[in-house]
């Protein structure tokens, strides 16, 4: 019954399909790429897509297809790790705020809301400026950017379910705060958390692309789609495929996670 409702949900199926495709791409790249991603073939610089080079070559004659495959590893790594950071810290802060209430709640939520004042990737830019660019710092900065969304859901869930009889009953039986959070409240807010995780995943991918484009994100030799775009920009007139393909792959990934998130939300909303 449940499965049927999910498969009928078109956005989710399309989103899930796109992600599965990219995931397969990423996993394959761990074992096999048509060319070594850094192999330069100077005679084939900026060649358009053809039988030997499906997506053409870049300004060093490197195979764009292989490089994008390798870049998928970074994209999934960044999306997954930053969402994990946001989820863990967001849950902790949100649960604390919701559980404590009063002034602590007020202060924590104020700080969380202050994030809205730093639009787009500004917060990540600030952190990366101070700590330096690179894969690890990019993940940390994007993780921090994701904390507020999770914190708000955790807090909301906590305040809502705190008053429910089953939670009160558990408290009366002597369950501690951790038990309440993990066993009783978390399962009930898992749907909005999954939706947020999916949407934050795509948010991180977009932000990483922007940061790396500006030279503030992932640094060589780590592969990155965003940096490929900034490398492709000067050749936009003579090698448009380089820019078009790289951006289209980023868009596909973001689209996939957005659709998945929206789809899960719809499936969840229509429950009643």
């Amino acid at each position: 019954m449940k499965w049927k409702r999910l498969t009928r949900n078109k956005p989710m199926m399309i989103g899930g399909g796109l992600i599965a495709l990219l995931l397969a791409f990423m996993v394959t790249s761990l074992f096999y790429t048509p060319y070594a991603p850094n192999e330069m073939n100077t005679e084939m610089r900026l060649s358009p897509p053809q039988a030997d080079y499906w997506w053409g070559t870049d300004n060093f004659g490197r195979d764009i297809f292989s490089r994008i495959m390798e870049g998928a590893q970074t994209a999934f790594l960044i999306g997954f790790s930053s969402v994990a950071i946001g989820l863990v810290f967001g849950l902790a802060i949100g649960a604390l705020a919701g559980y404590a209430g009063g002034w602590l709640d007020e202060v924590l939520m104020r700080v969380i809301d202050a994030k809205l004042a730093f639009p787009g990737i500004l917060l990540a830019i600030m952190l990366v400026t101070v700590f330096g660019p690179g894969l690890g710092n990019t993940i940390a900065a994007l993780g921090v950017m994701s904390i507020p969304a999770f914190a708000r859901i955790a807090r909301g869930g906590f305040i809502q379910y705190k008053e429910f009889t089953f939670v009160k009953a558990a408290t009366a039986r002597g369950a501690g705060p951790l038990r309440i959070v993990f066993l009783h409240i978390l399962p009930n807010i898992s749907s909005p958390l999954i939706v947020t995780a999916s949407l934050r995943f795509s948010g991180s991918i977009l932000a990483e692309a922007g940061l790396s484009y500006l030279g503030l994100g992932v640094q060589p030799p780590d592969p990155s789609w965003g940096r490929m775009l900034s490398e492709a920009q000067p050749f936009i007139a003579n090698a448009p495929w380089y820019v078009l393909i790289t951006g289209a792959v980023i868009t596909t990934m973001v689209l996939g996670f957005n659709l998945l998130g929206d789809g899960i939300r719809d499936a969840y909303d229509n429950k009643g």
Partner: protein, 314 residues
């Protein structure tokens, strides 16, 4: 009245909090800000000198207080790299970013509202399919990649717009508009997607309201009901997302200004990261954050002024 006082107090505390966060990130988190500016293997003598200039020999709390005091008095400090007052440098760059934001917000509303209404009027299968396709794509596309595509189509192929660069309004308004059009369009697309989605949902919600039935039953034509009654009520909620849209535009302009080499705040921000100009960076970030907070404050107030129901509710 009490509402306004409360809102004003909340504005004040948010600005204060934002300044604390900015200060913490740039002055406390790095440990030694002078080292950030000069690099880890800098000459110790130079480091000591810079610490003196930046006042790093004093405790952080004291430095924060001086910074807040000076900033609120209009003294934004000196840029390390340009050896000029930060206020002057920012004032030079601000018009570009503000023009970009206004133009992009204008495009967002001019394109988003009619499309939203159109889609809601003919809520058929095909149109809603196209709509979801467009809005989902609009939200998924990195704005700077969209900027590349616009450059490729309109600058490289058709040569209608310049590829990059900026001409000040005072010099040549037509050229200024041409240099800002593509960047603002690139910035506007996600916003357009948001407005269409939001407006369509609000319109469809409003359609089910009693006042619509009343207006219809007294014989008003559908068009009049739509434009005079429903649209008016639907635009109020749209106003609430304008604050978010402006914030998004400012955030997006950091990247897009760099694509088009527009000499705005976003461009300055990235340049000063390259030159490690910490005082300039710190002030610029605070500047952007305060603008965002103030815009949200204004939107909050406007929302209340426009819609009397909200005013009377509490």
């Amino acid at each position: 009245m009490r509402f306004y006082i409360r809102k004003l107090a909340s504005l004040g505390s948010t600005v204060l909090l934002v300044s604390v966060i900015t200060f913490l990130v740039f002055q406390v988190l790095p440990g030694d800000p002078a080292e950030i500016v000069l690099g880890v293997d800098a000459d110790p003598h130079q480091l000591a000198e810079l610490r003196q200039t930046m006042g790093l020999d004093r405790p952080a709390a004291e430095r924060y207080w001086t910074w807040v005091k000076d900033t609120s008095a209009g003294d934004f400090g000196q840029s390390l790299r340009y050896h000029r007052s930060v206020a002057d440098i920012v004032a030079e760059r601000l018009p570009v970013t503000v023009s970009l934001a206004i133009l992009s917000l204008g495009l967002t509303l001019l394109i988003g509202i009619p499309l939203g209404v159109y889609i809601a009027r003919r809520d058929g299968k095909l149109s809603s399919l196209l709509l979801s396709a467009f809005t989902q794509l609009g939200l998924a596309v990195p704005s700077f990649w969209l900027a590349f595509i616009l450059i490729l189509v309109f600058s490289v192929t058709f040569k209608w717009f310049p590829t990059y660069g900026y001409v000040p309004w005072s010099e040549n308004p037509a050229q200024a508009f041409r240099s800002l059009f593509l960047p603002s369009l690139a910035l506007a697309v996600p916003g357009i997607a948001v407005v269409i989605r939001y407006l369509r949902n609000t319109l469809l919600d409003q359609l089910r309201m009693d006042y619509v039935r009343t207006a219809r039953s007294k014989g008003l034509r559908d068009r009049i009901v739509l434009y005079r009654h429903i649209l008016r009520n639907s635009l109020v909620p749209v106003l609430t997302i304008v604050g978010l849209l402006i914030a998004d535009t400012l955030g997006g302009s950091i990247v897009v200004e760099n694509v088009f080499a527009l000499p705005g705040l976003g461009n300055l921000l990235i340049t000063s990261i390259g030159t490690r100009d910490l005082p300039l960076l710190q002030t610029m970030v605070l500047y952007i954050a305060v603008i965002v907070v103030c815009i949200n404050f204004i939107v909050d107030i406007l929302y209340r002024v426009i819609d009397p129901r909200i005013r009377l509710k509490r």
